[in-house]
Subunit: 369 residues, 2 copies
């Protein structure tokens, strides 16, 4: 196998024997490359047949198979890269994607333009964990949302994002909402004496999301929120590679890939794939929240987001769900400082108001610096 | 609940008791709408809180919960519709999407421009099942692919599609490939005396797929192939609503949604969602092939693709995988005539050549008219 010509992908294969695992590894190598019986492949295309590399027994009925693919299968098309990774093999009930050649990722994808270091520079927070409040719900007016943004920023929150369900509804159209929220945050910064970044949600039709991104930049947004499984992953990459403002990726519609037995290993999905496609901040469903990952998986996602993957920068793991003033101390201890905590509903339940809630939350983060 | 103001979505909920099912249904209704504790929702947005409707015990630990959502949550944004359907709830290990309000689908989505009736008109085949051959593999030259297309069309195949891995690789760039294959098919039609439609693959970056579609039309393609889970589903809709040429949807990257315990019920995914987003032909992994659906699921997909969903037209269910001369007779009997059979690898293994293989295949279809 020629390393310069190939890249590798690791699949978890469920099999009844070593021989069954070998057959299935072979099946993936063909399915994800030429997709026809090898003996019918014309001579000119023979080098495109996927090659089975290391096959390793893990435990019980589980094997890891490394498949080597010719880079010509992808040939610079990033959406086709996803197809080679997990197009038809996503339909196999015995196959999961568990690792990807990081050298190859670094050679074809730009990764985040800002990453952990860049977002720290923009927020002027050197070491501690960052906070992110959420503007919601759909149905609130731009004036109401801007008032929330003002309160959160007055309380000194580091980042504010739109709820991922705020798009361009009549109740708070994109243009008016972003204008008013940007103004509110800039005004509150005067009061708080610190930076707060506002990330409006730009998720919409894949063919129009780039326009909405450009409009967000023009309106003075400090970053954007996008749900890449809804817009297509390459939309995220197109936006990130403009290197204009940071991008936060939301996990909406990604669940089936990461919570099931068959799919993509969560650390690889969030920490490698979404990061390599350009997310500066990668939101994942936190263990203590309403969703399903256990704390160990969350720590693996954190580690993978921060891991060395040169030239791709580390991305900020961003934990969402079940985070409040009672849980934050333990979370910082267990997750470390290089993390953003999304605090949604819990801030709204605080009786003393949003600004006080934000202030107490910031204090808790500072305490654990 | 105001029917004109709301639409419903049915979720399968795994629960330990009626009470647990009620709690989880309530959780979905909030998660997919305002995403904050109802008592913190401002008055203006109160009508946007999702409402739990019928909750029905199915069996064992399984309930069906109908949730009613305010149409204002979507407000004309089709990508946001997907988010309300299965954004955050895709991350819940006890939640699957099992049905969608077809009246609402018909009110916001255009569905296929051609559908079963339109594709029959274009192919001039009134009643029998249709055949579709596949050009492959990646690595073959445009001349080689065009020669295959010529052979298949000479043998009288109804449709020819690109392999979904053929994009714009140097080995057969889009422009040259489509030109040569269109020419080859037109030439072969003179010989066969019947129509053959050629569908090149246009799957690429979500922000550039529309351009590639327009180029395909200009180059004389009779239809296009697209993998909507890779380009984002709304790209499919944007293309279909141009009403230019029919669109065939490929299931690449959709597996995690449909083969796992938690996800989207396959008949709903293929027969309602992909169809409503505009696919004239919906490819699904066939039971007798390399993939995982059982024959009953395949029949449900067929039925749902063909079901009445006015004003959305019926789409051609398109079975792929494990179809050859030995299985075709039984398949037509069991699946009926309103189906397209994809025949990939098996035609290439035929010793007498592609044209003869295609001819025999056509004969088998005609026999069961």
């Amino acid at each position: 196998m020629n390393r310069r010509q190939n890249f590798w992908v690791r699949y978890r294969v469920t099999a009844t024997s070593q021989r069954d695992a070998e057959t299935k590894a072979m099946q993936i190598s063909i399915e994800q490359s030429v997709e026809m019986p090898p003996k019918t492949v014309p001579r000119e295309a023979a080098s495109n047949i996927g090659q089975v590399g290391k096959l390793r027994f893990i435990k019980d009925n589980e094997w890891h198979a490394d498949i080597h693919f010719n880079k010509q299968l992808v040939d610079g098309d990033l959406t086709q890269f996803l197809n080679v990774l997990f197009g038809n093999s996503s339909l196999q009930p015995w196959c999961s994607l568990v690792d990807i050649d990081t050298d190859y990722l670094g050679s074809i994808l730009n990764g985040p333009a800002f990453g952990i270091h860049g977002i720290r520079e923009l927020t002027q927070v050197k070491k501690r964990a960052l906070s992110c409040a959420v503007l919601k719900p759909v149905g609130a007016s731009p004036v109401q949302l801007a008032e929330m943004a003002f309160q959160f920023a007055s309380g000194g929150v580091d980042l504010i994002k739109d709820d991922h369900g705020l798009t361009n509804q009549h109740s708070a159209d994109f243009e008016t909402r972003v204008k008013k929220c940007v103004n509110a945050v800039r005004k509150a910064e005067q009061k708080s004496g610190k930076r707060t970044l506002y990330f409006p949600n730009i998720t919409t039709s894949p063919t129009r999301v780039m326009q909405r991104f450009e409009r967000a930049v023009d309106l003075g947004a400090d970053g954007v929120l996008i749900s890449p499984m809804l817009t297509g992953l390459e939309s995220l990459h197109d936006i990130a590679k403009s290197e204009t403002i940071p991008v936060m990726a939301h996990p909406a519609f990604s669940g089936s890939f990461v919570i099931n037995e068959c799919g993509i290993a969560p650390p690889v999905y969030y920490g490698k794939l979404i990061r390599a496609f350009g997310a500066d901040s990668v939101i994942y469903p936190n263990a203590t929240g309403r969703f399903s990952f256990n704390p160990e998986v969350c720590k693996q996602i954190n580690r993978t987001c921060r891991s060395k993957m040169d030239p791709i920068k580390p991305a900020f793991p961003t934990a969402g769900g079940g985070i409040d003033l009672n849980t934050i101390a333990d979370l910082v201890k267990s997750y470390g400082n290089d993390i953003i905590f999304l605090i949604g509903g819990s801030l709204y339940q605080y009786s003393a108001g949003l600004a006080s809630a934000a202030k107490e939350f910031q204090q808790a983060l500072t305490d654990y610096e």
